[in-house]
């Protein structure tokens, strides 16, 4: 309760202390603008990070639960080998379902590379079988041995070869988003420290008079800290609102657009935006506190 009381007291402020420190000129605009710009960037870094996280989870989940059996065999043996492979799969523990893809589905898979008019009949294509695993999954090595014994032309691909790099790339992207947010927080702190130092230097005479009449450092620092904290809060709130509006204007997620169209926030993640102005205010509070106490220590 005492911490909450302190926050409320800080927000209300001391009108007399506020009045003693004159308006700090250009540092007002500098603080508000930099907090707004940084908050705007944080919205995008956050959206990027969360979208990359969703993508990593989805790829990891979807690809982990599916596998493919590819059957390469002479045309006259293709149907028999396909049926044999399906039989093996139906009796394999950990396989939820298995089905051979139709010609139409195989055409759709190849269309992005060869175009929609692909003459499948004229090409020696392998038969693809889609395998969906149960939650516990199957024994890949055991299944490979069984397929090798019963269906010589079958090759099992559980996607491990390319699933790993994809999930790793998405995870790196997520990490990059968070690192960006941390860097932006530090840059905001640095800018506010510079602005606070400028304001303190411009008010050296005011500080000297306040010290002369018995003001404690904490009393003087409080006036500056409150001023910069509230400015950063206001600037970051504006930047966050603009960032959120910009996210709303982005195209919504679609299969055709791929990853780039899924950059917006989803569901409860929108609530995270409320934290941005609060974090900006905390950064400003700490940066101004450090700058004020360092400056005051150098004065008599």
């Amino acid at each position: 309760m005492s911490a909450l009381r302190s926050v409320i007291d800080f927000a209300i402020g001391d009108a007399q202390a506020e009045k003693a420190v004159p308006p700090t000129g250009f540092t007002v605009r500098l603080t508000v603008f930099s907090a707004a710009a940084m908050a705007f960037l944080v919205v995008f870094a956050l959206a990027l990070s969360l979208a990359a996280g969703r993508l990593a989870d989805r790829w990891s989940d979807e690809l982990a639960r599916s596998a493919t059996v590819r059957i390469s065999a002479p045309v006259e043996q293709m149907a028999a080998q396909t049926e044999a492979a399906l039989n093996v799969l139906r009796t394999t523990e950990g396989v939820e379902s298995a089905r051979a893809l139709t010609l139409e589905e195989q055409r759709e898979l190849l269309a992005p590379w060869f175009g929609p008019e692909l003459p499948l009949d004229a090409l020696p294509l392998p038969q693809m079988i889609e395998v969906i695993e149960t939650a516990s999954g199957f024994d890949g090595d055991g299944l490979r041995l069984r397929l090798a014994g019963e269906v010589p032309g079958a090759v099992l691909d559980n996607h491990a070869r390319w699933r790993g790099p994809l999930v790793s790339a998405a995870s790196s992207l997520r990490l990059l988003g968070w690192v960006s947010i941390i860097l932006i927080a530090f840059a905001t702190g640095a800018m506010i420290t510079l602005a606070a130092n400028a304001a303190l230097a411009a008010n050296a005479q005011v500080i000297a008079v306040m010290r002369l009449v018995g003001a404690r450092d904490s009393y003087i620092a409080q006036a500056f800290m409150r001023r910069f904290t509230l400015r950063a809060l206001a600037g970051a709130a504006a930047g966050t609102v603009f960032g959120a509006l910009a996210l709303l204007l982005l195209p919504s997620a679609s299969e055709e657009g791929g990853f780039l169209t899924g950059l917006g926030l989803q569901g409860a993640h929108w609530l995270l935006l409320i934290l941005i102005p609060i974090l900006a205010a905390v950064v400003a509070f700490l940066a101004t506190r450090l700058a004020a106490h360092n400056t005051l220590r150098s004065l008599t």
Binding site: A208, L212, G214, S218, R297
Partner: protein, 219 residues
């Protein structure tokens, strides 16, 4: 104590105790270190060697908060009468009350009374740049007194005022001394010192050749 600055040694083996209720004048040629000496007395400077005690506390051992609290018991009248130019005279005079958290109505009643005592009631809403030299000096004295300090240190309090006003300020300071306040006035105005000695038992100290000496009968 001794004190040096980048230009060289200012004081060497200076020793002084301000007894409660005493009245001191500090004199010496321009640049002899009167202002520096006063700053050492209220903790704005720390001596190069030796000890300065404010109300029995060694200034070197005092935290910045301790020094701030001690300054509430020491009224300082600066040569250049530092004020906050964006605040009215009344707000400037109330500044020591404000920073120390005194918000009782009695304190502000005292403020009105004090403004009347130094003859500035009609200038309550004026900004410091609008005040004359004499008004600024009286305002600085009033601000130094608002916390009812035990000690008053005044640096050339009559430097910017005419003879009549300087006599009026001196009378105020003598009155305060009679009320039990410890007073130290740094001045090069020997006429002021002579005038004061007719009314108060004052010690006159002179800074000469980096030492503090008791001035002779010529004063």
């Amino acid at each position: 104590m001794a004190h040096s600055y980048s230009g060289g040694e200012l004081f060497n083996e200076v020793s002084l105790r301000l007894a409660p209720g005493s009245f001191h004048f500090l004199t010496g040629p321009s640049g002899s270190g009167k202002t520096t000496f006063l700053k050492l007395c209220y903790g704005a400077l720390v001596p190069s060697s030796g000890v300065v005690r404010i109300f029995d506390d060694d200034v070197r051992q005092m935290s910045r908060d301790d020094i701030a609290l001690a300054r509430r018991r020491v009224g300082v009248v600066h040569q250049d009468c530092q004020f906050l130019d964006h605040l009215s005279l009344q707000e400037n005079l109330a500044l020591p009350l404000t920073v120390s958290g005194h918000e009782a109505l009695d304190d502000y009643a005292n403020l009105k009374e004090l403004m009347g005592w130094v003859g500035l009631t009609s200038r309550a809403d004026a900004l410091p740049p609008e005040l004359s030299g004499g008004e600024r000096q009286r305002a600085a004295l009033a601000r130094a007194l608002i916390m009812s300090p035990d000690v008053i240190l005044a640096d050339e309090p009559t430097g910017n005022v005419d003879w009549e006003m300087s006599q009026r300020l001196l009378t105020l300071l003598i009155e305060l001394n009679r009320m039990g306040k410890t007073i130290m006035i740094a001045t090069h105005d020997l006429g002021l010192i002579r005038a004061a000695k007719n009314h108060v038992q004052a010690r006159v100290l002179r800074i000469s050749e980096r030492r503090l000496q008791l001035a002779g009968a010529d004063l």
